[in-house]
Symmetry: C2
Subunit: 393 residues, 2 copies
């Protein structure tokens, strides 16, 4: 009666959501202060004040029909131009408003790009550790997700495995830097080596291999590190962006796709992406949110709270003996499970009301993820639990 | 290099959008007052005041993290409950919050339902005249759209053709009442006869045939007519709703799917729809818009302006000799083209800067559509042009 793949997608909850909801139930039993929930990557710092001021001012001072009307499918010209100007100024690569396609966040952006590039069972490469939704995004839209094993313990790129995974069906490599779940930023050296490899393989195979740069964490960078804008290194890069983390607006579903002019046959790729979006029911991104972005495209979050949490957790956990690459972006840490089985370790942690996400779905079953977008008080209360778990392991 | 179907979808503009943009260009040449644009169904009455007040009040008086955070995929419990309570009270059929799945408008709602019900080249039946996007919604997601020819001139249902179109692959009939483009409401008698037919055919075929009720125009009803709530007549009805027209929020992308408990195995159908939405990149509907709906679920538009336009246009055009069923819903009129070729007639109209939409894409090439969501002044200026065109035909 119903499609069994869709039923599975709608029934199998993500492990993260299950943990998160377990935490809420458990808090009702043992008290909120006794649950240490590191499961879900929900921003814990509020939207910059000018974002909320813009919401109010736009509603108050713009004609209702104009505010809430349909925009063109790729977005309001003023919003597209504002994003383009900001990218151009910041990264020195000329981006025009016509290169920007607003979407309801990064998820439909990635799907529109995959649908545009899928020639029928085409392959998209994810580099472990990777965001688990890439798999349903590809597989439920007729494509295949190929996973390159992680480069442990630094979580850059396993070159031998990546090269071996590229073949005539490969259409793109998904690059998520700063990375969820590792918090690692791919270095300029890594990206240059990746660009050289994809250029060479594309020439061998006779078709371009795109990079799909999934960049919701672009603005969450610490220690003065650089997160290079990948189209400046590899021209055939399509950028998928979301304001979920950078403006702390995850529920508002606003993001964009950028197809720079340096992409091969960029107008054709852009048109196919517009078709991919239409095929998923895209009409326009929420108009009010587009107007807010038009005003706040250059706003930045105050990430000091994430940075402080990161410092406290990294120092404490490594001093206990946990093994973890120091994250310099996003709001995650990816930690080796004592004993090597993160599923078992996270079960033990759960018994102590410490909620951590085993890395199997991210493609690295020996590691677990914690989110650093939490309260400093919870961190302090949880540290003895982390310590005890390691001693018992 | 790109998927050719997606490229076509992204390149072939809708005839309506092309006309609309032609009108904007032409206005710059001959003056806005000399272009009579009846092409696009954009609401011309503003959102009810409480809607804009809610936007402001929610931003002003709710914690920023709470307002803009992710909601569960089907929506905020408070918003789901508000919609369910309003439907229950109004139509007497018990609807629970758990039956409601918020979406980014009706387009992704329809696609999620089609993906959930598509068993592989399943067939969805559209009854002409029908909303042209049904075709890409079905065809770009692996299903087939079967069109039942129109019941001319009253635009209820051609029963012989409908019955002949149902077979073992048929999963659902899409019902759009009040109808775009005809403005007709299916009568209770029509819907009861449809229910009896689908029940009998479902029993013969051994599987339910669903109704997908596409209802963005539910609140736009005139002359005290009734627009029955279809699940009260046919239990296997899945409702797709949008606030685009009813709250004049087309750009804000907020609507829902309702799977009432009376649907066969409704929890399974609901889960498959959740999967269908996830497969298209749905995370949640815009959270701020959900909160507004939670407060304004019972708000109604002031449709007097549409009603007056309808009266003026219907009376004038029929008095000139145009042939048109009197619309009692939505904001459209569907008019027989003098000479019987609406494409040719609309080209002639375009020469006089009168922009009307030929009915070919709606499945009725002898008719054209005009929108009544326009200014009364434009109507008055355009009437002599309608008259002259008929005299020349």
């Amino acid at each position: 009666m119903v499609n069994q793949n869709m039923l599975k997608l709608g029934t199998n909850r993500s492990c993260i959501r299950e943990l998160f909801e377990y935490g809420l139930r458990q808090a009702a039993i043992v008290g909120k202060e006794n649950v240490f929930d590191y499961s879900i990557g929900n921003p814990s710092i509020p939207a910059p004040p000018e974002v909320n001021e813009s919401f109010v001012d736009i509603i108050r001072n713009t004609d209702s029909l104009a505010v809430h009307g349909y925009t063109p499918a790729p977005g309001m010209p003023a919003a597209r131009d504002a994003v383009a100007a900001e990218l151009t100024e910041r990264f020195g690569l000329p981006i025009r408003g016509a290169n920007i396609f607003f979407t309801c966040g990064a998820a439909p952006a990635l799907i529109a790009v995959m649908r545009a590039l899928n020639l029928g069972e085409s392959e998209f490469i994810a580099i472990a550790p990777f965001f688990p939704e890439y798999r349903p995004f590809a597989e439920s839209n007729g494509a295949k997700l190929v996973v390159v094993p992680a480069d442990v313990p630094n979580f850059q790129i396993n070159w031998t495995a990546l090269e071996a995974s590229i073949n005539a069906r490969t259409q793109a490599v998904i690059v998520n830097s700063p990375n969820n779940p590792s918090g690692v930023i791919y270095t300029r050296e890594t990206l240059e080596r990746l660009a050289a490899l994809l250029k060479r393989k594309g020439e061998e195979l006779g078709h371009p291999i795109f990079i799909i740069a999934d960049e919701p964490y672009r603005e969450l960078v610490y220690d003065g590190e650089e997160a290079p804008f990948i189209p400046t290194i590899y021209p055939n890069t399509i950028v998928c962006y979301s304001y979920s983390k950078s403006l702390s607006l995850p529920g508002e579903r606003i993001g964009y796709i950028c197809v720079p002019d340096c992409v091969d046959d960029s107008a054709t790729v852009f048109a196919a992406i517009a078709g991919g979006a239409r095929a998923s029911g895209h009409v326009c991104a929420p108009a009010l949110q587009q107007r807010v972005v038009a005003r706040c495209a250059a706003s930045r979050p105050n990430i000091r709270a994430y940075d402080e949490n990161r410092a406290v957790l990294y120092e404490a956990l490594t001093s206990y003996g946990y093994d973890c690459v120091k994250p310099n972006g996003a709001f995650y840490m990816f930690i080796k499970a004592p004993g090597g089985d993160a599923q078992a370790f996270s079960e033990k942690a759960k018994e102590k009301n410490l909620l951590i996400v085993p890395g199997g779905d991210f493609g690295v079953p020996e590691y677990f993820r914690i989110c650093t977008c939490v309260s400093p008080e919870m961190i302090q209360r949880s540290l003895p639990v982390f310590k005890a778990l390691l001693e018992e392991a």
